[in-house]
Symmetry: D2
Subunit: 100 residues, 4 copies
């Protein structure tokens, strides 16, 4: 994720723009998750007749969600690689592999 | 993100587990965003007295949000790197650099 | 709220329609909250230049959120008046008035 | 809903408290919806073994969601009865009854 965090940061700096406040970023995240919800509800309630289109739209919505998260991370000095790895490790309890 | 998508996928396969349904993943995402909202609202309404703790907790919540998204991506053959890059490119209109 | 719960229920019965499943109602709620978030973020980040329009749109979004909640309540035999009163009472601790 | 809107308003005035800002109310709403999502996902993925407990908890979460909405409505002079009726009317298209 470092590459993406840097791209976004470089661009904000270049434009002389400020990131949004935490509450604004949260509002935007809620908005993006809402758009994702609309897609999921439209397509997965009944049988999805346009699976290719769904995949593409889902990709767009998910990209927007993560972009919003990158903005928050960049304003709070959060290393997203570290954040993701920690969450994966929490779920995949490491000792699950101890007998391998 | 390929590395993280693969870690999660390998683990689900190893455990013989199924990913959740789209609507269940969405419910989980809504739940994780709700936890993030609680943190943001607690800490950023008034002056944050524990910035280090906030940063660590935000890192945890954000990691959980992205983990949930990875589960969705893996069940729908979505390349998260591509998704993120497309969202960044959309915001950073490429021609912004044309005069450089 | 009884009046509204009954209106919605009468209409679903008359149409011979089923309510959505809980996870579908939640997805719809997430979607409606996302639309509300868009409005809030658009209007309250900077100074709101169209307060009357904002009020009207907020009224619409909020109505949709509560409509979605009514659908859930009706499928789970939940009395919304009781639910609201309990939440108010929890916040307004009743003994706050004991010295009056 | 007038009764509930007034109760909340009277209490805030009596305490000399301010309502939260729009973005704070939205964050709180996102948080409450997240708690509702947790409940829904816990109980309705698999067969619900504790339907009575689910009903009671759902009632609590829903009450909290509507309480949060009341706070927003009160700060923006929104009549919730009007908002709910308009959303119901939109769904139940009035002319649906024209042939009765």
């Amino acid at each position: 994720m470092k590459k993406y965090q840097k791209q976004v940061d470089d661009w904000f700096q270049k434009q002389g723009w400020q990131y949004w406040d935490p509450l604004e970023i949260l509002a935007r995240l809620t908005e993006e998750v809402g758009e994702f919800a609309r897609l999921i509800n439209d397509r997965f309630g009944a049988k999805d007749k346009k699976p290719e289109e769904t995949k593409q739209k889902a990709e767009e919505e998910i990209g927007d969600i993560i972009f919003t998260i990158i903005c928050f991370a960049n304003t709070h000095d959060i290393d997203l690689d570290q954040a993701i790895q920690a969450s994966i490790d929490k779920v995949i309890e490491r000792d699950a592999d101890r007998f391998d």
